[in-house]
Each structure stands twice: as structure tokens, then as C-alpha cells.
């Protein structure tokens, strides 16, 4: 392997690693605050890429119908709760928000999809469509479970993954798409041509990770989320609304997923089921961090990206087999670090 090839593989690995890192951070965040293992994170990535591709072709993406449907369902659940006796104005406000925001986004999208406002506007539209999916999925699928066990909500997460996967196929069809790069061109770095797209991906991921670190470390609502992650009952006792915290992390997860989708669309061909595999690789990175530490998750993601990139060079057929088998040594390492019997929940 020459220096050039090695460097190009490293570039690929770092780019993918940055994307896995974003996913892994979102997964760690959602898990630590809500105890939900958010398998459908990958589908959010897919929806973002595919929506962007349709908007680039001047058509309104099929995912709009999904958020309108989710919004109406969520509004219906709130309305139902109101009728069942909880006559608080917050219920009505939530109902209005869940119902109207997706409708407004849909109207905006239909009005401007064919108008040719350009790439940046399309990205704004994608964010408007995809980011609300996080809280909507939480409200419709997970909230009604109450304080379910991790296993219980994991199976629900799997079911939601099925639903979203099927909806993705219905809305976008089986064809793969690839969008033009956000910024075209290559720049030499240490004699290696580095694509501007790769730089954008890494830069955006780093900015997002720093923003997250600042948010969790410096702001009151970020600290409230950390408190919730640490001890939910305790957080509730000191007046943190854990419910609101859950909504917020799902919003952030939606944002991270949308961002990944936009970043990944120009790098690989995205099919309706691509997101799931990206999401799972994010999981491996998250497991590397014990579903708990943000910096470790980011490090794991970058290592995974590099590992994947080099194994695709040496044994391209077995690339995915190798990457997913990587979980075994990681788990072994983790399990050797904790030797006492850990009590699972009932």
C-alpha cells in the first residue's frame, strides 16, 4: 500500500468516522436521558438524504406525508388525553403544535419545492421536514410506554425501525440517490488531494460536537439534561421536567440525523435501507463508549471509520462482516473491565 492510497483511505475513514460520531453522540444522548435505544436514528439519516435528493430534482419529497401523518397522530393522542380528563392548556398547546407545525412545513415545501430557491434553501427545508421527526416519533411511539424497561422500549424501537423502513421504500422507491457535493473541488494537504466535501463533513461534525459539549457543559437546560441522565427521579424531584428533557433530546437526535443525511448524501449512494447500517455502525461506536461517554463515543466512531476504510481495501468482500465482528473484541474489552455481577432490571 503506497503512501497516497493509505492517505486516501485515511481520508475516507475520517469522513465516515465523523458521520458515525454524530450518530453515536445522538444515540448516547438519547439513551442516557430516556433509556431508549433509538434504533430508528438510522432511518432519520436516510430520510434526510433522500428528501434532499428529491428537493434537488425540484419535487416535494414523500417524507412530507410521513411527518403530516405523525403530526396528526401526535395531535390526536394529545386531544384524546384532553378528552379523557386532563383539561390543561398545555395539552391543547401541544396538540396545536403537533398538528400545525408539520402542516405548515408541508405547505411551505409544496410552495417552494419547484421554485428553484437553490441548494441552501433545500437544506433548510430538509431540516424543517426531518428534525421534527425525532420528537414526533417519541410522542407517538415511546411516550405511551411510560416507564417501560430498556428491553421493552428496544423492541418498540425495532418495530418503529420496521415502520420507517417500509415507509421509506413507499415514499422514495428502491432507487439509490447521490446528491452533488456541498462544495466541489480538491485541495492538496501534505501532497494528498483532499476533497472539499470531506473537509466540510469533518468540520461540521467537529463544530456539532463542540456545540454539544458547550451546551451540556455551560447552559442550564444542558445541565438539566445531564441531571436527568444521571438520575431521573432525582431530576424530577428538583423540578426538571424529564418529559420535556426527553422531547428535547429527540429534537437534538433529529437534528443530528438530518445533519448526517445531508453530509452523507454526496459521499455514498443512499438507498432506503442505507441509514440502518450507518446507524448500527454508530451503535458500535456508542457501545465502545459504554453508551455513556461522549468523547469516547466520538473516538470510537473515528477508529471504526478508519478500520472500515482499511478493511475495505484489504478484504473488500468481507468489509461489513469485519466491521460488525469488531463488536466482539470491543465487548470483550468492556466486559473484562467490569468483573462483578451486575444486576439487570426486572
Amino acid at each position: 500500500m503506497s503512501y497516497l492510497i493509505g492517505a486516501l483511505l485515511a481520508q475516507d475513514g475520517l469522513t465516515n468516522g465523523a458521520i458515525y460520531a454524530l450518530i453515536a453522540l445522538a444515540l448516547v444522548m438519547v439513551f442516557s436521558v430516556t433509556r431508549i435505544i433509538f434504533i430508528p436514528q438510522g432511518e432519520i439519516v436516510t430520510y434526510s438524504s433522500l428528501s434532499l435528493a428529491s428537493l434537488q430534482q425540484g419535487t416535494a419529497p414523500g417524507s412530507i406525508w410521513l411527518i403530516v401523518a405523525l403530526g396528526l397522530l401526535a395531535a390526536g393522542l394529545e386531544g384524546f388525553g384532553y378528552l379523557r380528563g386532563d383539561r390543561s392548556t398545555s395539552r391543547l398547546r401541544a396538540m396545536a403544535a403537533y398538528g400545525l407545525v408539520p402542516l405548515a412545513v408541508a405547505a411551505l415545501t409544496f410552495a417552494t419545492a419547484g421554485a428553484g430557491f437553490g441548494f441552501l434553501w433545500n437544506i433548510v427545508l430538509v431540516l424543517l421536514i426531518v428534525v421534527p421527526m425525532g420528537p414526533l416519533i417519541y410522542r407517538v411511539a415511546f411516550r405511551p410506554l411510560g416507564d417501560a424497561t430498556v428491553l421493552h422500549s428496544l423492541i418498540v424501537a425495532m418495530a418503529v425501525h420496521f415502520v420507517l423502513l417500509g415507509c421509506g421504500l413507499l415514499a422514495f422507491g428502491p432507487e439509490g440517490v447521490r446528491t452533488p457535493p456541498l462544495i466541489a473541488g480538491r485541495f492538496p494537504v501534505f501532497g494528498v488531494p483532499v476533497s472539499a466535501q470531506a473537509m466540510v463533513v469533518v468540520a461540521v461534525a467537529i463544530v456539532a460536537i463542540i456545540a454539544m459539549a458547550l451546551y451540556f457543559g455551560r447552559t442550564l437546560s444542558g445541565k438539566a439534561l445531564r441531571a436527568t441522565a444521571f438520575n431521573r427521579v432525582g431530576a424530577r424531584l428538583v423540578g426538571i421536567r424529564t418529559e420535556q428533557a426527553a422531547r428535547l433530546v429527540f429534537l437534538l437526535a433529529g437534528f443530528a440525523g438530518a445533519l448526517c443525511g445531508i453530509l452523507v448524501a454526496p459521499i455514498t449512494t443512499v438507498y432506503y435501507d442505507t441509514g440502518f447500517l450507518i446507524g448500527l455502525k454508530g451503535f458500535i461506536a456508542a457501545i465502545f463508549a459504554g453508551l455513556a461517554s461522549y468523547p469516547l463515543a466520538a473516538l470510537g466512531a473515528v477508529l471504526l471509520g478508519l478500520f472500515e476504510s482499511y478493511s475495505s481495501f484489504f478484504a473488500s468482500l468481507y468489509k461489513d462482516a469485519i466491521v460488525f465482528a469488531l463488536i466482539i473484541p470491543i465487548l470483550l474489552w468492556r466486559s473484562l473491565r467490569s468483573t462483578h455481577v451486575e444486576e439487570d432490571e426486572e
Binding site: L145, L154, A159, V163, G166, Y318, E343, D344
Partner: protein, 590 residues
């Protein structure tokens, strides 16, 4: 005959007659229900009862199918001879994967099953010897001395396999190891304290479930006579798990119901959905997912509890006092002579980060002596208990019991030496009967293993275990509640039940953590009498208690700790007059 038995017989009769009358299409459906049911039976054991979630069962089906397909085509072996190899392959894979991943707790395990099953899936698709993505065609049919089961005969074969799988798991669950499996979820610390190797037990049920899955793989390969990787992917695994949940994951028979409902539901959707939307695959998984979400939100326990409400409750393992007295007891442990040194704690310290929970505590305990351990809340009494029983290792100092150093020994090894305990927060399995809970305590007194339970060779030992449990229940005065679910007992009775469980282990040292809390006056007197009697028999008793009247009248000696340090030791009257003790409890000397 009980109504339950009649219901089961009627169901069996229907299942046996069905293949003879069904159309070819109906037979295919029934075959697939049966094939799935075998896998799901394993998942009920593993996930529903044992609490280990696997998103990888389809991989084990694949291991069984590929093994037999390769052996019967490339190696030309007869399918009947390939069966044991296929089952062994399933067990081997499970053993290797389980050894690495089962040490993980909770949510890591399901996530790791997703990853390794995907890895196997991608691997198989690329191995040329296994036909790559094209798979292995022309797998021969099963042939037994020239007879080739096909049509209804193959369905009967599958039905027999389902029945056999149900039987193996039912046998296990009604045994010594089965009781432990039922406690795996959320009671591992308790199990270890009674000598159960929970890591090994988890591995064993993982292998059991994998062998059942491999059996399905073998039946599948020779039914379809073609094998490729697609039906063994992650989606299939998830569907098996869905079936488990739909049926009711804690009920063995729910496996059959879940497999049936899911297969019929999918078949119905496949026939309806294309006409509705026009895109088969997508609509199917959307509908399936929606059904699952709604089901889990509204009826998370599945269909079985609802079905069972129609039937009278099941008879629990039967044992009564008269019968128990007639059964020869296990030989009991030779007790050390009264007054010999049994437990020596020397300079024991436990730190949690910066916090010193137990600081340089020393005391000893002789056989037949009752020692009280008292101190204000947060003094470190329960931590000390956990050090003595190996639940957490000591940071410094030594603990010896009967000549062995135990300060860093695993909990289950200490149990073997003859130490049994009760827990401050009762750790009973509330859905098991009082009798079964006590029988868990007697785990180490029998050595019958998993295999002999599976083959039902353990019946006599099992009866002796239950008889022992019954005798201990009688000893503590709870024999009349033996067949009630432990969760239905009053809190005080649950504490007594914990003591009965500890006694069932035939301990040389009994550790009781607040046994009198929640007891009424009479019950306390009875408990005190029982403990005194144990002392006379040569059992050493260490008791943590807040009820001073109870303690002062019961114990031979007291050790007082406060903020992790021993502040006083001696006879009850001496301790009562100790200024340091009065300060610790009252803040000032009285």
C-alpha cells in the same frame, strides 16, 4: 383431569388432525408456524424467562441449515446423520459467541447480538464454499430407511419437533436449574449468594435456545431443499422476537400462539396489502411494525395472559408436609463444635472512591454464637454484610471463615463453604410460590445438572429438594402458605421466607439483615426462639437489627459500628452502658 390438561389435549388433537385435512397451501403455512415455534420456544426460555434478549436467533437457524446443507450436498452425508452435526454446530457457535458476549449486562447484550448476527450474515454471503449469495441448491430430502416424509408426514415431523422442544424447556423449568433461570432476571446477586453460577447458567440457556434454532434450520433446509442467507438475516431474528412478545414472552406455550398469530398475520397482509397499495414488501413491514407498536403499547404481556384467564390456575409443584416428612432428607453439613472459632474479621476496610464505608473493623464469631451487629443508619452494617458474603470485595484487611480466606472470594464460593444470608430488601421472586423460593436456597444441596433435568432424570432429587424446602417452611411456621405466590405474602412473612430460604442451604453461618423489621410481637418472639435454637445446634448467627428489645434479649454479644468504625463490643449490658454507644445513638451521653 384438570381443565388445563383437557384444553391441551384438545389442542394437540386438532394439531394432529390438521395436516391430514389441510390443502397444500395450508400445510405450508402450518410448516412455517411449526418451524418458527421451535425457535420461539428457545426465545421464551432465553428472553422471556431468562431475561437475555437475542436479536440473533435467525443466525443459529442459519448455522443449522447451512451445516446440514453443506454436509448433505458437498460431503454426501445422509440428512439423518447430519442432524446431530447441525445441532452441535448450533451449540458450538452459541458457546463461542456466548462466552464473549454473555458477560455483558442489560442492553449491551441485545445490541451485540445485532452486530454479530449481521457479521455472520455478511460473511456467509461471501464464502464461495457455501455458494455465496446464490446459496446451496439441491439439498436432498430427509430419508429414513428409504422412507421420505413429505406433505402431511413432514408436517407431523415438524409438530413432533415442536412438542419435543416444548418438553425440553418445560422439563428444565420444573427443575433446580429452572428455578434459578426464573430468578436470573433481577435476582442474580441473590442467586450467587446461594451458590448458583449465573454466568454459566446464562451460557447454558443460550446454548439450549441455539440448539433449538439449529433444529429448525435442519428441518427448514430439508423441507425447502435450498439454502441461502436471506431467511437468516436480522429481519428474521426480529420477527422471531416479535413472535415471542406477541405470544407472551413469559409463557412457554405462548411460543406456539405467537408463531401462529404472526405467520397468519403476515400471510393475511401479503394477500391483502398488494391490492391495497400495490407494493408488497414495504406495506407488509409497515403494517407489521405498526401492529407491534400498538400491541406493545396496549398489551405488553402478549396474548397468553389473556388466554390463561379463560383457564383455571395451574397446579404448582406439589408437596405437602406429610409427604415431605416421609422423604429422606439430604445429609447435613458437619457442624463445627460449639465454641470453635468460625469467622474472623481483621482490620477490614471498604472504600467507595473517597467514601470509607467500613473502616478497619475487627471482630470474631464462634460456632453456636449469636452476634448482633448494630449501629445508626448509614453506619456501614449492610456494606459489611456484603463484604462477608463476597458481593463486593474488601479494599483492605482479611476475613477468614472456617480456615479459608474469603475477603476476595466470589459470592457463590463463599456459599459453598456454608454461609447463607437474608437480604435487607427482600430478594424473592414474587411470581414463584413460597415453596419454590425456599427451594432456591437448597440449590447447592443437590448436584443434578441441566442435562439430567432436560431428560427428566432428576425427579427423585427434585422431590427431595422440595421436601427440604417444605420442612424449612414448616420450621419457620409458613407451611400453610407454601403454594402461595411469594409476592402475595405480607412483608413480615416475606422476611421470614428469606430466613427459610437461607436455612434451606444448611448453613454453618447465618447472616440476617434486619430480620425482625415488619414483624408483629408474636412473630418476633417466635423468630427469637428459632434463632436461639439454631445457636444451640451449632449454627453461628450474625444479625443486623434496629429493634433493640429484640436484639438485647437474643444475642450473646454485640458489635456496635458508627460511621464505618467499631466503637464498642461486648455483652448487651456492657454495650448499653457504653458512653460511646450512647453518643452515637443519641448525640450526647445520657
Amino acid at each position: 383431569m384438570s381443565t388445563r390438561r383437557i384444553a391441551l389435549l384438545v389442542f394437540t388433537a386438532i394439531v394432529l388432525v390438521l395436516p391430514a385435512v389441510l390443502s397444500a397451501y395450508g400445510l405450508t403455512l402450518m410448516n412455517f408456524i411449526g418451524l418458527a415455534a421451535i425457535v420461539v420456544v428457545g426465545l421464551v426460555l432465553l428472553t422471556g424467562i431468562g431475561g437475555l434478549t437475542s436479536f440473533g436467533q435467525a443466525s443459529f437457524v442459519g448455522v443449522g441449515a447451512y451445516t446440514t446443507a453443506w454436509l448433505t450436498t458437498a460431503a454426501g452425508l445422509s440428512p439423518v446423520l447430519a442432524l446431530p452435526v447441525a445441532l452441535f454446530a448450533g451449540a458450538f457457535f452459541a458457546l463461542v459467541i456466548g462466552a464473549v458476549t454473555l458477560r455483558l449486562s442489560g442492553h449491551y447484550l441485545p445490541l451485540s447480538t445485532i452486530a454479530w448476527s449481521l457479521s455472520l450474515y455478511f460473511l456467509v454471503g461471501n464464502v464461495a464454499a457455501l455458494g455465496g449469495h446464490d446459496g446451496i441448491p439441491a439439498v436432498p430430502p430427509i430419508s429414513l430407511f428409504g422412507w421420505e416424509p413429505s406433505g402431511p408426514a413432514y408436517t407431523w415431523l415438524i409438530v413432533a419437533a415442536v412438542a419435543l422442544s416444548l418438553l425440553t424447556v418445560a422439563n428444565v423449568l420444573a427443575s433446580r436449574d429452572g428455578r434459578a433461570v426464573r430468578c436470573l432476571r433481577g435476582r442474580r446477586v441473590m442467586l450467587e449468594a446461594f451458590g448458583v453460577d449465573t454466568a454459566r447458567l446464562r451460557l447454558v440457556i443460550f446454548v439450549h435456545a441455539a440448539v433449538l434454532a439449529a433444529l429448525t434450520g435442519w428441518l427448514y433446509a430439508h423441507l425447502i431443499q435450498f439454502v441461502n442467507a436471506t431467511p437468516f438475516g436480522l429481519n428474521a431474528s426480529i420477527e422471531y422476537l416479535f413472535m415471542t412478545v406477541i405470544g407472551g414472552s413469559a409463557h412457554l406455550f405462548g411460543a406456539v400462539i405467537g408463531a401462529g398469530l404472526m405467520t397468519l398475520l403476515r400471510d393475511g397482509l401479503q394477500r391483502l396489502a398488494p391490492e391495497l397499495v400495490g407494493s408488497g414488501g414495504a406495506t407488509e413491514i409497515v403494517m407489521l411494525g405498526l401492529v407491534m407498536v400498538v400491541l406493545l403499547q396496549t398489551a405488553p404481556r402478549g396474548v397468553m395472559p389473556w388466554l390463561l384467564r379463560l383457564l383455571p390456575p395451574r397446579g404448582r409443584p406439589w408437596m405437602d408436609l406429610d409427604r415431605a416428612r416421609a422423604i429422606a432428607p439430604f445429609s447435613s453439613r458437619p457442624k463445627p463444635e460449639r465454641g470453635t472459632e468460625l469467622l474472623t474479621v481483621a482490620g477490614v476496610t471498604k472504600r467507595f472512591g473517597g467514601l470509607i464505608a467500613v473502616n478497619d473493623v475487627s471482630f470474631d464469631l464462634k460456632a453456636g454464637e449469636i452476634l448482633g451487629l448494630i449501629g445508626p443508619n448509614g453506619a456501614g452494617k449492610s456494606t459489611l454484610f456484603n463484604l462477608l458474603t463476597g458481593i463486593s470485595p474488601a479494599t483492605a484487611g482479611t476475613i477468614s471463615f472456617a480456615g479459608e480466606r474469603i475477603e476476595r472470594m466470589a459470592s457463590r464460593k463463599i456459599a459453598r463453604l456454608g454461609v447463607a444470608r437474608s437480604f435487607q430488601h427482600v430478594l424473592l421472586r414474587s411470581d414463584m410460590s413460597a415453596l419454590e423460593n425456599v427451594a432456591v436456597g437448597a440449590h447447592l444441596r443437590s448436584t443434578r445438572g441441566y442435562l439430567s433435568a432436560l431428560l427428566r432424570l432428576d425427579r427423585r432429587e427434585e422431590e427431595r429438594l422440595l421436601a427440604e424446602a417444605m420442612r424449612q417452611l414448616d420450621r419457620v411456621g409458613l407451611a400453610h402458605l407454601a403454594h402461595e405466590p411469594a409476592g402475595s405474602l405480607a412483608l413480615g412473612q416475606q422476611r421470614i421466607l428469606e430466613i427459610a430460604r437461607a436455612l434451606a442451604a444448611d448453613p454453618a453461618l447465618l447472616l440476617l439483615d434486619e430480620p425482625a423489621a415488619g414483624l408483629r410481637y408474636r412473630e418476633k418472639q417466635e423468630l427469637a426462639a428459632l434463632l436461639s435454637k439454631l445457636g444451640e445446634e451449632g449454627v453461628a448467627v450474625l444479625v443486623v437489627e434496629h429493634d433493640m428489645n429484640f436484639v438485647m434479649n437474643l444475642v450473646d454479644r454485640l458489635v456496635v459500628i458508627s460511621f464505618g468504625q467499631k466503637i464498642s463490643e461486648g455483652a448487651p449490658t456492657h454495650v448499653q452502658n457504653d458512653v460511646a454507644v450512647q453518643e452515637a445513638y443519641l448525640g450526647v451521653a445520657a
